[in-house]
């Protein structure tokens, strides 16, 4: 089970993304972060902390659950629906620049669902995307603005992001589906 990012690399990638965000925006006053459940949420919080360290600005951070927007609902033959959790965006997204944050960018369908959901919340000025890992194999015309690391994978592999807030340590590993 090869480790493609160790803890220090995860930390450095998030810090680097924070710097890129600061470089690309003249001001952070109109920016808001929205983490996609589940692992986009702690990454968004770390990114917000990084932005505060660099620019001294507290960027509002929200939580988005895209379950109700997924296009694979009821397409799985057996098995339960995904567990729905709360969306928590306690600021208006109208005319704001929104930075969506997720752990892995893969087919793009999660991001498509997140865009649908965001648009139901209001009319953002712009939406950008930051991911810790881009593993390729897009099925939709979606591209990340900030990428921690590009990790080429085969379709039989899965990329697992582990975070200290969830699993107790930071690392990214590739697993072959046939291993499990």
């Amino acid at each position: 089970m090869p480790v493609v990012m160790a803890a220090d690399q995860v930390a450095r990638s998030i810090t680097r993304i924070a710097h890129e965000v600061v470089e690309r925006h003249r001001t952070l006053d109109n920016l808001a972060l929205i983490g996609i459940r589940t692992r986009g949420v702690p990454i968004a919080r770390r990114l917000a902390a990084g932005l505060h360290d660099i620019a001294g600005t507290t960027v509002p951070t929200g939580v988005l659950d895209i379950t109700l927007y997924r296009d694979d609902l009821m397409r799985h033959a057996v098995g339960p629906q995904p567990v729905l959790r709360k969306t928590d965006i306690d600021f208006s997204i109208d005319d704001r620049r929104i930075l969506l944050v997720d752990d892995v960018l893969y087919t793009g369908r999660t991001i498509r669902a997140a865009l649908d959901a965001l648009i139901d919340f209001g009319r953002p000025g712009a939406i950008e995307l930051a991911v810790l890992v881009d593993r390729g194999h897009r099925e939709l015309p979606i591209k990340a603005d900030y990428v921690g690391k590009n990790v080429p994978t085969s379709l039989s592999e899965s990329v697992q992001v582990r975070l200290a807030e969830v699993e107790g340590l930071d690392e990214v590993v590739i697993k072959d589906a046939s291993d499990s």
Partner: protein, 324 residues
């Protein structure tokens, strides 16, 4: 910032928890973890109701039939709002006694509906077990929206959600349910649900409206309303069905209110932060005084809002693809 544990499950996305049952007919069919799943999902659904666009695409393209043999604007509207918020296609069928006169049986009605391939059927019927019959006859998932004197599971779930929101937990709370116990499907669902969730349930009503074999239900029963209210965290009032009152159960509404009506004076025996619940529609001046219904303890309107969220949760959780 909320603690991170709140927003993450240990194993990440899509924890494989769902409902085992095809249908929601009775609280007794649910495991405790399924009850928590429904309540947690309902909490998340509440957020949808706070958005400016109160609609998500989760049940897009799914057909839900509301099959109501008993008039109930309140419950039907609540289900309908829930369905619309989830983008389901809704069909309302108000079946009256007239089809029975024409000789069409419930089985016929359901077979006809089945030909339209609905995904979910919500049934309200005056006969206990009607939902079970519908579920046996069709592939669609069935939600019992009240069957005679049997059960009204979504009402109990919305009551539990309301109590949990107000009190933080249900475990250990003293809940008193007062009124027409005998005919109440709300009571039957609530007693089971509240007991699973660890509440201390007592019931109160006229001796003529007690349930037989109450002891086996594991609840304390009293005919003294003062005793029932004493120290209660939650006071739940049940509706007196005026159309059922032929003088057999109690002599008059006036005497009922004197003995069992909830007044501000009586409520003083409850805990200072007690809440008052009622499944509606209320008979003011019969089971509840207006100043209690409209008073600060009353969470009756929250119950209505939570009704939509609970029904969204149940619809969503039951909407797995039907296995062919």
């Amino acid at each position: 910032m909320p603690p991170i544990a709140d927003v993450l499950t240990p194993d990440g996305l899509a924890a494989p928890v769902g409902l085992r049952t095809k249908d929601l007919l009775s609280i007794g069919d649910l495991l405790p973890e399924e009850i928590y799943l429904i309540l947690d999902t309902a909490e998340a659904m509440k957020e949808v109701g706070t958005r400016s666009i109160k609609k998500v695409p989760a049940l897009r393209g799914r057909t839900v039939v509301n099959l109501f043999f008993e008039a109930s604007t309140r419950t039907r509207t609540s289900f309908e709002v829930a369905q619309k918020r989830l983008s389901a296609d809704t069909i309302n069928i108000a079946a009256s006694g007239s089809s029975v006169v024409k000789g069409e049986t419930l089985a016929d009605t359901v077979r006809n509906l089945e030909a339209m391939a609905p995904d979910i059927i919500v049934v309200r019927h005056q006969s206990a077990g009607a939902g079970h019959l519908v579920a046996r006859l069709c592939r669609a998932r069935v939600i019992n929206a009240g069957d005679g004197m049997h059960e009204h599971p979504t009402q109990a779930l919305l009551d539990a959600l309301t109590i949990r929101e107000r009190k933080g937990t249900i475990k250990g709370l003293k809940v008193s349910i007062i009124g027409d116990l005998l005919h109440s499907r709300v009571l039957r669902s609530n007693v089971q649900l509240l007991q699973v969730l660890g509440a201390d349930v007592s019931v109160c009503g006229p001796a003529t409206m007690m349930l037989p074999d109450m002891a086996r239900l594991g609840v304390r029963a009293t005919t003294s309303i003062d005793e029932a209210v004493e120290g209660a965290d939650v006071v739940m009032l049940l509706r007196i069905q005026l159309e059922r009152m032929s003088g057999y159960f109690f002599p008059s509404l006036r005497e009922y209110f004197q003995l069992f009506g909830m007044t501000p004076e009586r409520l003083r025996r409850a805990k200072p932060d007690a809440i008052i619940m009622h499944p509606g529609p209320m008979n003011r001046g019969v089971e509840i005084a207006s100043d209690v219904a409209d008073g600060p303890y009353s969470v009756i309107l929250e119950q209505v809002a939570n009704g939509v969220a609970v029904r969204m949760a149940v619809l969503y959780l039951l909407a797995d693809e039907l296995q062919s």
